[in-house]
Symmetry: C2
Subunit: 342 residues, 2 copies
């Protein structure tokens, strides 16, 4: 890439580099005639101020890093959408890295972003993350940092979350209110805080309604996939002939369950009711349409960026910043998969 | 962010900045004792070489820019996945910008990436793009550049595409072979080359089979949404009581059509057959399952990055680079929505 430098412009116009620089910055001690000549030549030569050089001076890159587990994922792609829209409004660019749910990759990526000197980092932990030394490194270096969705509670950073426990409780309460008592639960992996919280919500809803908790009704996903939904549906139907409803940790898994039940002519919801979590787009196009929990993904992205920006700005002005926790509301979306006899 | 500089390290150890710099770069003329002292202190102080300063010297940012129309989009999110996976393997970071199908935003984003001095740009044009001055600017500045999917044929850059004409022809041929003759087509917008090519493919398939082309059977999407699918399905059923099949420019639109037909008890495929394009994940979970054209999205991302890298490397070595066009194969995925009497 052939670059035009201030020096070239200065030489061509027979003026000093300082004058060129001042002209481009519209200093009052440069004549308007000179300014015009400099700007015209700079435009002609495709001069662009070296943004990396600017960085050295202002110590800002106007770039933030985002580490997420998966891009091809309705929830996360909506969060990305919210983050880049909000970043753009505020003049920031977003580097996106995908951990593929691997702790090892996630560590490497944190390191990369630190060395790239981004102005801040937004992150949702991989399912694999059971160690947070790399996260502590971000805080140690005082890099503005926001966690969302899959967070580490122990890390004292800003966070954007939903109340997973409460949301799962409402979902199970909806099933109970609809007349289903024997409810199987396909839960998320062991590590992520949100999977733990949703599981607690499931148990609490049962307790509140005097339904005894049966650990045999709980199935644990490793990768939270459509295929696991298909597989667990098969197992649940074999293990518990009298199961009345299945609650799933996410819509993708629920759609896998639905696919198995439909193919085996098990009527949803009349034989088995089904409830998802997250309200993915496809949940309203499957048959029957899936009841689920609406999780505000785009808003989660917007809030995450705004919290990060607040910290970046505080840092710039050398003002102490106290991490904030933003909890977004969820609500139950009732569709056909939980409406008996319809 | 408190930064440790070479100067601080030099002062603390009572040696010159040059020695510190040499020690960190493992120069042979620095004693191993000094090297160890420098490295230990640098580690202790969290010193990281200033990557933006490095950029000034090597003129490389090891960062590329990607401009795509939409992130929350099964096809594009798979392409992103391919690009960032391949970029990561090669030590590059990816800045992702979303044009929201707007030419104005797209122009602004090209300008941003140019000023950010990324090493290269990968792009799929917005539906709105009917002007390519901003793209010419990229070439003028000799920034390595790859177009994919929605491309401008007139821009002499590397491109990763499918043969949209041929793919659409095969899709319509499959419908004709399955016994459907009166085939409506819900096409993409007027500007994008791929929408034009798919439309030509539809017409050609009819011609080849001596079926006369009826422009009244063609409906044009503005935004290529689920909702447009629902709306056009309603119109098609009203306008053409004898329509036998509907071919859609993308699966999202086809799923909208399916949703309308299902809700109005019009049997797919026995009353109206349905064919999509792109093979989105949800196409295999709707009922009936959607026949479609498999478009290799992840591979498109991988190929796009690799072509860009080839050009970046040629540029670095000052070797002339001739743009390449990679055409990926597509194939027909036959599911239930085109199988009559099943």
């Amino acid at each position: 890439m052939a670059e035009t430098t201030l020096k070239e412009i200065a030489e061509k116009l027979g003026i000093s580099i300082t004058t060129v620089s001042k002209a481009l910055k519209d200093y009052p001690d440069v004549s308007s005639k000179t300014k015009k000549a400099v700007i015209d030549l700079a435009t002609e030569l495709n001069y662009s101020p070296n943004s990396f050089a600017v960085n050295l001076r202002t110590k800002e890159s106007k770039t933030i890093g985002l580490i997420i587990p998966e891009v091809v994922h309705h929830f996360f792609s909506n969060v990305i959408n919210g983050i880049i829209a909000e970043a753009e409004k505020n003049g920031y660019l977003v580097i996106i890295l995908q951990s593929n749910e691997s702790l090892e990759l996630e560590k490497k990526q944190v390191d990369l972003l630190i060395h790239k000197r981004v102005d801040g980092i937004i992150m949702s932990l991989s399912n694999d993350s059971n160690d947070d030394d790399h996260i502590k490194e971000i805080l140690k270096r005082k890099i503005p940092f926001v966690q969302f969705d899959k967070i580490s509670k122990l890390i004292p950073s800003s966070k954007v979350v939903i109340n997973d426990q409460k949301a799962a409780m409402s979902a199970v309460q909806h099933l109970i209110d609809s007349g289903f008592k024997k409810i199987a639960y396909i839960r998320g992996p062991i590590n992520p805080q949100n999977a733990i919280d949703r599981f607690i919500g499931y148990k609490r809803a049962l307790e509140t309604n005097q339904i005894s908790f049966d650990p045999k009704l709980v199935y644990t996903c490793e990768n939270v996939t459509f295929e696991e939904g298909v597989e667990f549906a098969k197992q649940i139907v074999m293990d518990h002939t009298d199961v009345e409803a299945i609650f799933c940790t996410t819509d993708l898994v629920a759609v896998g369950v639905l696919s198995y039940l439909n193919e085996n002519n098990i009527n949803v919801p009349n034989q088995i009711a089904l409830m998802g979590f997250s309200n993915w787009f496809m949940s309203k196009v499957v048959q029957p349409k899936l009841s689920t929990v609406e999780q505000p993904s785009y808003e989660m992205g917007v809030e995450s960026f705004n919290l990060l920006l607040e910290e970046i700005n505080a840092e710039k002005k050398n003002i102490a910043f106290t991490p904030k926790i933003v909890e977004l509301n969820t609500n139950i979306v009732i569709r056909e998969s939980t409406k008996k006899n319809n």
